[in-house]
């Protein structure tokens, strides 16, 4: 996760430099936020839309960012909320219950064209898609981004202990997924 320096935060607070500084924020965070969103929604077009909404919301409420939380934490929170809202809206639109959401995600994974063809990676995506939503978030942040539990705790508003337990359970379920496949 990129760490913006103090000077960038100061430029975000200066009316003369705020737009230019925010462009720098987009440049710095678009990639990590994109992958976080993509791992949740699976599809490139949807991820692109959610990423745009994330930055638009951040720009629209920049005065709410007071520097008490880290900029990255604030942006991740917005991105994750946008992703969860998108998935809930899609489930409602398709008339899919939370229990059937796994099948819907696996369908999205199979329909995804932006892949490198790695079969093992595809299986891992399906395994992650089989996890409950919160466990999936925790697994993605820890496994793919190697995010610290303390940072995850700030973003998700969950205790470090609960996050560790959640990640441990997620790993067990994924290992079980591969065992069942064998």
């Amino acid at each position: 996760m990129p760490v913006p320096d103090e000077a960038l935060i100061a430029r975000l607070r200066d009316p003369m430099t705020v737009r230019e500084a925010f462009t720098e924020v987009i440049n710095l965070f678009s990639e990590p936020l994109y992958w976080q969103i993509r791992r949740m929604v699976q599809n490139h077009e949807d991820s692109n839309d959610i990423l745009q909404n994330t930055f638009l919301k951040a720009w629209g409420s920049l005065e709410n960012f007071r520097g008490e939380a880290r900029l990255s934490t604030w942006l991740y929170k917005i991105a994750i909320n946008e992703s969860i809202t998108f998935l809930a809206r899609e489930r409602k639109r398709a008339g899919v219950s939370l229990d059937d959401a796994e099948a819907s995600l696996i369908h999205a994974i199979e329909a995804d064209k932006d892949i490198d063809g790695d079969e093992l990676a595809l299986q891992l995506r399906k395994a992650v898609a089989s996890l409950p939503e919160k466990q999936r978030l925790v697994f993605n942040m820890k496994y793919f981004d190697d995010m610290k539990y303390e940072t995850m705790s700030e973003i998700l508003g969950t205790s470090v202990g609960a996050l560790k337990a959640s990640y441990h359970l997620a790993v067990k379920k994924i290992e079980q997924f591969f065992s069942d496949r064998d």
Partner: protein, 163 residues
Amino acid sequence: MKQNTDILDKLRNTNGGMTVPEGYFAEFTRRMAASLPERPELEHPREQAALERAQRSLWQRVRPYAYMAAMFAGIWLMLQVFTLVSNPGRLSPMDSNPVMAEALGNDDFIVDYFINEAGLDQWDIIDEMDADGSLSELDFSGLSDPSEAWADDYEIYSSDVNE
């Protein structure tokens, strides 16, 4: 299980086989920066504040004064009501009420209610008139003998005088 752990180790810190179109992130930054809407309150806060002040309608400008005037009017009205309640003499005079004016203009009303009903006699009334000086203002010149006139009317005066 060991083999499965190896799979997880192998794919750690990857993008899970997902890709993006060539140059996507650079293009995204350019496109996103260009599509950011104007935020005058962020980018030009002083000018925006001045514009908002100038755009305030007449009502928005006079509203605090109107509220203050209404508040003072309310306090004044409340004081008037308290004063009237605590000092009924300041209420409207009885003769402005047509019913009361008619009653007071009727001699029988005075005799019936003030003299007969209240148990007053003529001496009480004469004493009262003497006390407030209104007796001396009465004109008895048309009468040949005032004392007889009183006696005729009330049958009391002569007996008292003769005693």
